[in-house]
Symmetry: C2
């Protein structure tokens, strides 16, 4: 018998949903919020969370082994990261994202096979409860938690963008589909000459204003409200769009790019930032999986490579384009008019 290959990697990937589900349940149970008040021993933490004794210690220790908790002298505590982002009493809480993964996407991804066979979304659309945007925008409390989570998700990327783009050559900047305003805030903090703000639906305004005020940037950054398919985009030297294009089919992607082109002056720039798939489509796992998430969540959305994006930019008129890595799986494609 020749040496058989080892199935370990296959098995590890196959059971790989167990660890993520442990995190999702921990956020659902408010574990990190409870530990935000101070470290607790296993029995006290179990009682506070009203857990049955059977699985509690394995659950807590699995979170330690997954790097989501610390344990010292038998007391569990948040890590710096989980304390900052998963304690619901903290301003940078991203539990809205985890909640969405737990209560919506874990189940919807369960019918991925059906989605691959039919090409149809596997979310509320299937049961006639509206599309993802109806779901997200129907409840202002949930919307705020979601937009806050988007800030957490985008922070590293926003900071990289604030440094890597030649902001010195420009003055007025708006982020289209800006959510809380994470990107305009980081760009404004790092580039004191920049003014502008964001463009999003009116329902986002109080959430944007509150966030911008935290950084005392309300005199430089405003929310321009409107629908980016119907209303003119703000007057700016630089526009950006992050995690927007991937929600839509190619026709709507092209329409958005054309609308941005129309709004910019000659020499103006459009920055598209998201988990751009590597041009060879073989290394950016996050971008490829995000594209499958667009299959689950939208009627026509998909992610794309940097080369795809700069090709589309040229088709709508941008004269020069480039692509630069930002942070984690995120890159930016830049088009100059």
């Amino acid at each position: 018998m020749s040496e058989a290959p080892d199935p370990s990697k296959i098995v590890q990937l196959g059971v790989g949903f167990w660890g993520p589900k442990v995190l999702l349940s921990a956020v659902e149970l408010g574990l990190f919020t409870e530990l935000g008040k101070g470290p607790l021993d296993a029995e006290t933490l179990r009682t506070r969370l009203r857990l049955h004794p059977r699985g509690a210690r394995d659950f807590f220790d699995a979170l330690v082994a997954l790097g989501m908790l610390e344990r010292r002298d038998g007391r569990y505590a948040n890590t710096p990261e989980t304390g900052h982002f998963l304690d619901a009493s903290k301003p940078d809480y991203i539990g809205g994202l985890i909640d969405m993964l737990n209560h919506r996407l874990y189940g919807f991804w369960g019918t991925l096979t059906e989605g691959l066979r039919t090409g149809e979304p596997q979310n509320e659309v299937k049961t006639g409860q509206g599309d993802i945007f109806d779901v997200l925008y129907s409840d202002p409390g949930r919307l705020k938690l979601f937009l806050q989570a988007m800030t957490g998700l985008t922070m590293g990327t926003a900071k990289a963008m604030a440094l890597k783009f030649p902001w010195k050559e420009h003055e007025r900047f708006f982020d289209v589909g800006c959510a809380q305003g994470c990107v305009p805030v980081q760009v404004a903090l790092a580039n004191p000459h920049i003014t502008g703000g964001g463009f999003d639906l009116p329902v986002v305004k109080p959430i944007f204003d509150e966030y911008v005020k935290r950084f005392e940037l309300q005199s430089r950054l405003k929310l321009s409200t409107g629908n980016f398919f119907e209303d003119p985009m703000p007057d700016a030297d630089v526009l950006s769009m992050g995690r927007i294009l991937h929600d839509w089919d190619l026709e709507k992607k092209m329409a958005l790019l054309a609308r941005a082109y129309a709004a910019l002056p000659k020499g103006g720039a459009l920055i598209v930032y998201e988990s751009l798939i590597d041009d060879d489509r073989r290394s950016n796992v996050a971008g490829l999986l995000m594209s499958l998430n667009m299959l689950i969540e939208t009627r026509g959305g998909f992610d794309y490579t940097g080369a795809d994006c700069t090709g589309w930019m040229k088709r709508v008129g941008f004269r020069s384009t480039s692509v630069e890595h930002l942070h984690g799986p995120d890159s930016m494609a830049i088009g100059i008019k």
Copy 2:
């Protein structure tokens, strides 16, 4: 503002079920079996699997990025590992395990939070369809696929055990709850003086016999049939139990250890091999998550540390004990009578 911590690890873990679900769907669709016949371009593979054009290429390229497929000159091919273990026409197919993860455990883990609150299994038990063993043993075809998958899962561990235990000092060896007989076969191959076999339910016999015959070991290895809670364990110098003790509550664990002790001669050895949790319960993620899987799947089962196991061994009479790492997350605890 001080530098904020980065939520990347949290987000990566939270969306970490996407990649595993892509693999589970690929096995469900027979993708690796189709590619077992030869490499295919995206469009041919899509047509063969009857997939909608929308997500197909992202799906295939995600499998490339996850290391489960290769792609050369636009044609997709199995990796050596996926070709060996995930092509249903191959003898070492572990699709039975992946199928179980896809059709049973992905959904059952969806109610992990409920399991943590109630301490109750989240599988067929909840709907009165029997326990996991009823499910597994009710269909001989499915049982064979499952036992075959257990072989794949245990192969690396079995090979390590065949080398790391002092087999020279012993002659007659039986693996209790042996499934196809992966461990006895590897031990017998590496140690030509060893005879014995396995102990399992009568329904396992044709599956065991067929597997052992593949290695021409039928004269040295036999299946002794019985129920390990009711019937005497086989007469042997060495007994082993792998992924058996974790299925049961402490009382039944102790009963099994006592029955093994009773069956062994003075100087005989019991080897318990599975994903023993590290004694400090903070590094063996696989063992801790497997224990939560026992919460999902059984009424009282749980995984345990090497120190737990050797402590129990001493309580039933074993005079000396030790623990040694085998392969991946698996270790063995040894008790000498």
